[in-house]
Symmetry: C2
Subunit: 359 residues, 2 copies
């Protein structure tokens, strides 16, 4: 049996239950802005070694928690572990982002793909989850994650990051059938992967749909939203995963919050281009909301950061169902002390919004 964490603010907020303070964690809270991360990354040699060595992934996951009173840990890994395990050969070159040695170039390439065994090729991820859970010792919950099938597909077809997504969109507009096949195998792969993370100890799940926002509304619903909805439906809620909350986040998906909320997920991540007050009016009765400070606000002075935090808290307003986060990841140039200001401001300034709760 997995004991509940001592600090259960995140899990309570995701279930829209009362809390004493708004919980806060940050996308990319473990990462390049931390000198201790850069040190361990330099020793590891390359990024994939960090991900594939459970001891290193665990150490990196815990680094921001040693500095800041964050309310959650998130597994240190990459969304592209799945395509790598499918044989595409992932590497990261300095400043260039991810690169696949064998990107998908034909319908035949797609037809050959199979969902990887999460306790086989991806066992290193599950070992990291198990190790992190042990090391966390219940202090805060551990969030597991995966990329959305559409987002994984964009990288697998483009071979890496892209400026205009010419190849994957060419496929979408000209050969939707192979794209549907690709999304189908990825939907299975992500479902298996997330279920395995929960079995290994993840206490909440997040699906990052980084590139859903580049689609038309019609294409979004078919190629990005629908696979995510299938994943939500396919999570083993009946067994170990019962009650493990799921967060869906489509960057640039502010127009589709209602659709995301209707998938059966527990929370929807929102980026900073959305007014949290509007978002809450639109879907706050169905799901919790996670977000949404502009990551660039962390370039400001402590005083201005506190003002911006206060604004986000005021936008959500009183009551349960808010998880504070940035609208996207912490940027590498950010001063870690600014992150401390943010985390402390969330806890301090959110208290009045939760004063209805018996202490």
């Amino acid at each position: 049996m997995i004991a509940p964490p001592y600090n259960d603010r995140l899990l309570r907020a995701l279930r829209r239950q009362p809390v004493d303070r708004t919980p806060v964690w940050l996308m990319r809270q473990a990462g390049r802005y931390l000198p201790e991360y850069r040190a361990i990354r330099a020793r590891a040699g390359d990024f994939m070694t960090l991900c594939q060595t459970p001891e290193l992934a665990c150490a990196v996951t815990l680094q921001p928690l040693a500095r800041f009173p964050l309310d959650a840990a998130i597994l240190f890994s990459d969304i592209l572990t799945i395509p790598d395990a499918m044989g595409l050969g992932l590497s990261f070159s300095e400043g260039e982002g991810p690169q696949f040695a064998r990107p998908l170039r034909s319908a035949a390439d797609i037809a050959r793909l199979a969902a990887p065994d999460p306790e086989g090729e991806l066992r290193y991820v599950m070992d990291a989850v198990r190790l992190i859970r042990r090391e966390l010792a219940g202090r805060v919950p551990l969030i597991g994650f995966a990329g959305s099938p559409w987002t994984l597909a964009t990288y697998m077809v483009e071979g890496g990051s892209s400026k205009d997504y010419a190849q994957v969109k060419g496929l979408l507009y000209e050969q939707p059938e192979p794209l549907r096949q690709l999304l189908s195998v990825l939907t299975q792969a992500v479902t298996d992967y997330l279920n395995a993370q929960v079995a290994a100890g993840a206490q909440a799940l997040m699906i990052f749909d980084t590139w859903g926002g580049i689609l038309t509304p019609r294409a979004y619903r078919e190629f990005s939203l629908d696979p995510m909805a299938q994943i939500v439906a396919g999570l083993n809620r009946s067994s170990a995963a019962a009650g493990v909350p799921v967060i869906l986040f489509t960057k640039g998906g502010g127009a589709w919050l209602e659709d995301l909320a209707a998938t059966g997920c527990d929370a929807v991540g929102v980026d900073w281009t959305v007014d949290l007050r509007d978002a809450r009016q639109r879907v706050g009765a169905r799901v919790a909301l996670q977000g949404n400070l502009d990551p660039a606000a962390l370039y400001a002075s402590p005083e201005r950061i506190r003002q911006q935090v206060a604004q986000v808290l005021a936008d959500f307003g009183p009551g349960a169902g808010h998880v504070f986060n940035l609208g996207h990841g912490v940027q590498p140039q950010v001063d870690p002390e600014r992150v401390r200001v943010l985390v402390e401001a969330v806890h301090e300034l959110s208290a009045p919004y939760h004063s209805g709760r018996p202490s």
Copy 2:
């Protein structure tokens, strides 16, 4: 007196008057996807020479009209001519995008800026407008344009294109006062520049707000929308510019169509992430709409392109007030014959939506 163009579909549609066919033009319809553009660009040596030589700018402007039955010409130029004329030293390196030799680095840099004289440092633009109008001989209307003050400010502060806009957002969050000064001088500069384009012969105007979509709703309203609204109010509608329609386009601004429509502009450009049916319901009673095919649809076969065009036309539905366009510029890798397919499909497939008009 400026004679009305023979083909007045664009101007009629922008005024939401009946037309026989939906007018169509494309952002970046003159550009790298055309071999004749690449040839003239190679002869010119660099991009700025093209912009600064009225004969070349005119030749390039007319190239797509010689190929396709487009319903408008748009001045060939760049949004960054204004900052260049303000002394920032613009150049374009191959594949790198725009670069300023002297980006804004301090409040003192900003305090020194003044709006350039459109018939002084920017006379080459007005000469191009005059020449193009003469060469067009009234066949189709000529659209003049400028970048939004916020969009110009991002390039001027970052020194070129940016991935995370750390510098200009740092300014926004930490030193909003110098940013306000910068936007104020740019608002004056863009107003003068557009008024001069109209005086030189531009028959419609478009403001490109390429980077408004990276802002929070609050910051968008103050730093991007409000300067555009001031420009719209400052156009010489009483003189030569009377009745010259203005199109505002915030890429990624689908959430803010109502705000854009309330500025007093005549039309709002929408990118492909917005459903044109929803957009029309929201603001179609106040403004015309321009858009919104995904530029990547041009990678598909002629048959699929026609399907996508039919979908956009169906989304807008019957009646006046639609200008067909892409949701962003034509991408350089596109086959020009696919552009022909698109233009012809718009004219052919839109006729039934305008059948109420006496021929």
